[in-house]
Amino acid sequence: MNFLTDLLSLIGDFISNIIHSIFSFSPSIADAIVMGLAAIILCTFAALSFMALTYAERKIVARIQDRVGPNQAGPLGLLQPLADGIKMFTKEDTTPAAADRWVYNLAPLIIAVFALTTYAVLPFAPNVVGTNLNVGVFYVIAIGSGSIIAILMAGWGSNNKYALLGAFRTVSQLVGYEVPMLLNVLPIIMISGSLSLIDIINRQTLANGNAGLPNLLYFPLSAVVFLISGIAETARSPFDLLEAESEIVAGFHVEYSGMKFALFFLGEYVNALAVAFMFCVLFLGGYAGPILPPYIWLLLKAAVVFTIFMWLRGTLPRIRVDQMHDMNWKFFVPVSIIHLLISMVLLKVFTDTPSQLEATGGILVSSGTRMLILFVASALTLLVALGIAARRARMNRLAEEEVLAKRRMENMAAAGA
């Protein structure tokens, strides 16, 4: 069942050899051309999945909201993404006259480019990866932060007060939720001993390629907080206060139309899919699985995670901006730090013997008891933190109601007397 992955490696080598022998380029140029082809394939995959995702999202969110979703453009509305594409291409580009020319035009390009570049390190199968950087995790998070500067550019270049304010708020949200993401990737790296995505997946697979213990079972708190921070990073619902049509009229991209707006849209969905892929790789075991080929497993897992995103979008109401910041700095960051400290100490106390570590080259063996201990610690931390937060929220609400009731009684007494 792995013939497709081997086929891709074979095709790559074949093309590289042909270019080298026929055109007598040096092997490095031939490799560069093959890598360019791989980059084109990855970009095409991202763009096609963007189209499929917009359709799936509209249909699923519609069903959650008890309506049908697009069903006019083709059977079951399947040609809707095509219709949207044609619309985006042929809409007029109303540029405000006072906009800052270069900044305004470059912003959507930079967002789309950075969103697409994160796919370069995603492993679709043991040998099928754009480039197996040994700082894969770091690269993804760093490139993901590249879109943030483009959002500021968009808000500033639009020469519009509301776009600027929307850009500020967006940046404060995106930048704030980087911190829990970073802090929660750390336990995974500690237990995997490497930043390379393929190493992280290898630790979650058994020797014959089946799925071993996924990292989700080791650190459920990290998984939950990473997922929520990922949703906040890509500014999806329920964190989409920045482009809420009823509130700040599309926020930082209010002055964009046509293809440039389409590139913003593409950037958001491609980023969301990249977060889904990262979650699968880091916490669910990436392409590991029993019978189906590896890339099918990765796509299945990413589809399940993205369905969770869409489910949250259809179900939860939008978060207010001060609630969002409170939740980040007063709940996620302290909880992530405490969880990091606990898992550091526990991992060192329950570590392997030095001879075992030497045998595996510094990576901890996947062990059931260790998983159980870490799972219990992590889940306990999560439940305790949620309990504390819930109690504080309840006490705050009771205090507020008390103040309101007192004020009401005073008003009635004053009105009566």
Binding site: F89, E92, T94, P108, K161, V175, M190, K348
Partner: protein, 108 residues
Amino acid sequence: MIVTAALLMGVTLIAASLLRPKKPSKTKLDTYECGMETVGDTWVQFRSQYYIFALVFVLFDVEAVLLFPFAVAFNSVPLFAVLETAVFVLLLLAGLLYAWRKGVLKWE
């Protein structure tokens, strides 16, 4: 990868610019303000709260970046180093708690 993505997106933008109508009119070129004329300067004063959030983010970002090499070399490091790093992280957590109690992390 960056070059390819930039080329692809650039080609899309150029294709779109060839395909779309170009009929600028005065209203279309105006800045958008919910249908009214714009009032005041565009470059508004911004609240210092954004700066504070960015500052706290930079602190925690640098902390996370310093923790990454520790995490990669975690398994070949003795328990004492773990306790040292725990002290480092606890210092930063204390900083966050101080900022919280001072009321600095409040309210967008």
